[in-house]
């Protein structure tokens, strides 16, 4: 039996060998971006202070003018206070395009921000392209969203996230990192209570060749057919998502009922398939 040190060393060596970091140049670029962001924030703060200072001085001058005797000379030259410098400061989430609109209200806005902020951490995608809220939907007292960042030309990875929130805004975001681009993936959750019923949720990217996605379950849940949501030309895949009804609460809390997902083209031919790993985990 090897001891703690040996086993930790094995883990560390494997991580060092199999991990991928984008390199020193990428770290330098990221550092520069970070510095610019911080500089932007500081400049905005300074501008605010300056503006407030000028406003205060103007008010003071105005008060003094009221107290001073009227001038007997002509009006002095008018000076205008300089407007605060324009500062371009993007929050971490960056710009978000919403071709499909977005959930309403401040809570909806927060959901979009939660999903896209997490997406901003993904090391991949075209930095020149904003994140896109590609799909969202409602059901059973919940809102689900999918956001993704268009990949760079030729990039074989995809940055996408999904979020599932209650009406109050409480919820979770599934970050998928820069996953290798495959024709079909699935993620989701289960045991979502709505009144006396329990629901599961399945979501993922699918090849653009697919016209239908069929989700197969264990525990006697009938198959679920979903129509892919068109993500547009900037994405190499489309997305799908939907809810399924569970007959009861699943007593295996970490087990997903989804066992297989199959994508079919318009002619009904299978174009992709993924098998959910047995045991804990909600992905395939």
């Amino acid at each position: 039996m090897s001891d703690l040190r040996e086993r930790l060393r094995e883990l560390a060596e494997a991580a060092a060998q199999q991990g991928h970091t984008p390199g020193a140049a990428a770290a330098l670029r990221r550092g520069r971006r970070r510095r610019l962001r911080l500089a932007g924030g500081t400049a905005a703060l300074l501008a605010l202070v300056l503006f407030a200072g000028l406003l205060g001085a103007d008010r003071l001058t105005g008060r003094q003018a009221l107290l001073a005797p009227p001038s007997t000379t002509g009006p002095s030259a008018v000076t205008t206070s300089p407007s605060p410098p324009e500062v371009s400061f993007l929050p971490d989430a960056g710009e978000v395009q919403r071709p499909v609109g977005s959930p309403a209200g401040a809570v909806g806005e927060q959901m979009v921000r939660d999903v896209t902020t997490e997406l901003a951490r993904c090391q991949g995608g075209d930095p020149a392209e904003p994140a896109v809220l590609v799909a969202w939907g409602k059901g059973h007292g919940r809102v689900w969203l999918i956001a993704a960042r268009p990949p760079r030309p030729g990039e074989d990875r995809l940055c996408w996230n999904n979020g599932l929130f209650e009406a109050s805004g409480a919820g979770a975001v599934g970050g998928h990192g820069a996953e290798p681009l495959t024709p079909l993936r699935a993620s989701g959750s289960s045991n979502l209570r709505s009144g006396t019923e329990y629901w599961g949720h399945v979501v993922g990217p699918v090849t653009k060749r697919a016209a239908r996605v069929r989700v197969l379950f264990d525990t006697g849940i009938p198959p679920l057919d979903l129509v892919p949501i068109q993500a547009g030309d900037r994405f190499p895949v489309n997305f799908y998502g939907g809810f399924y009804r569970q007959p009861a609460k699943d007593k295996r809390p970490l087990t997903w009922q989804v066992v297989r997902v199959i994508a079919y083209d318009p002619a009904g031919h299978k174009v992709a398939e993924c098998q959910a790993a047995p045991g804990p985990g909600h992905s395939c």
Binding site: M1, F165, A172, V173, S187, S190, G281, H282
Partner: protein, 165 residues
């Protein structure tokens, strides 16, 4: 290392080691890559000063450890709805024993994980672990003791076996 090297040399010399040290703390290879890269990005901004440090790697490690702890706390907050949306953590191919350890480490509080990794993997003495985590020496001893005990229980092995030198 101190004084003369370029950032690129420093990066290529240290990134693998730090990735190896951060993976057992985050429990997810992608997370480890992310915090290590962010720590290096921060180091790049301060490189003119950092290069003169005796061990610039210690600074990057401390930043990466702090980022890992922040992210662990943030993830805990996000998990308030008890929904499992994410795929299982990305783990490199290792032996069954090492995999069991990775899984057992994930059940420890992040501070215990950090103390165990810094002491047993980075071979830092208790005082240095305390400086890195900005806690008193006694706290580190307590974190190590509780961490060892919890790991032994999770792995079903006597504590002495884990602590063998």
């Amino acid at each position: 290392m101190a004084g003369s090297g370029s950032f690129e040399e420093f990066y290529s010399g240290a990134v693998g080691r730090l990735l190896g040290q951060l993976f057992p703390v985050t429990g997810d290879l992608h997370e480890a890559e992310e915090v290590v890269q962010e720590a290096f990005a921060r180091a790049s901004v301060r490189w003119p000063r950092l290069r003169d440090y005796d061990v610039p790697e210690a600074w990057v490690r401390r930043v990466a450890m702090n980022l890992a702890a922040d992210r662990a706390r943030s993830l805990r907050r996000q998990a308030r709805a008890i929904l499992r949306l994410s795929p299982p953590p990305e783990v490199p191919a290792v032996s069954v024993e090492a995999l069991a350890l990775a899984e057992a480490l994930r059940t420890l509080p992040v501070r215990q994980r950090q103390a165990v990794v810094l002491h047993y993997l980075a071979d830092l003495p208790v005082e240095e672990v305390a400086r890195t985590l900005a806690v008193p020496d006694g706290t580190v001893k307590s974190l190590l003791s509780r961490g060892r005990r919890a790991l032994a229980a999770r792995l079903g092995e006597p504590e002495e076996v884990l602590d063998r030198r």
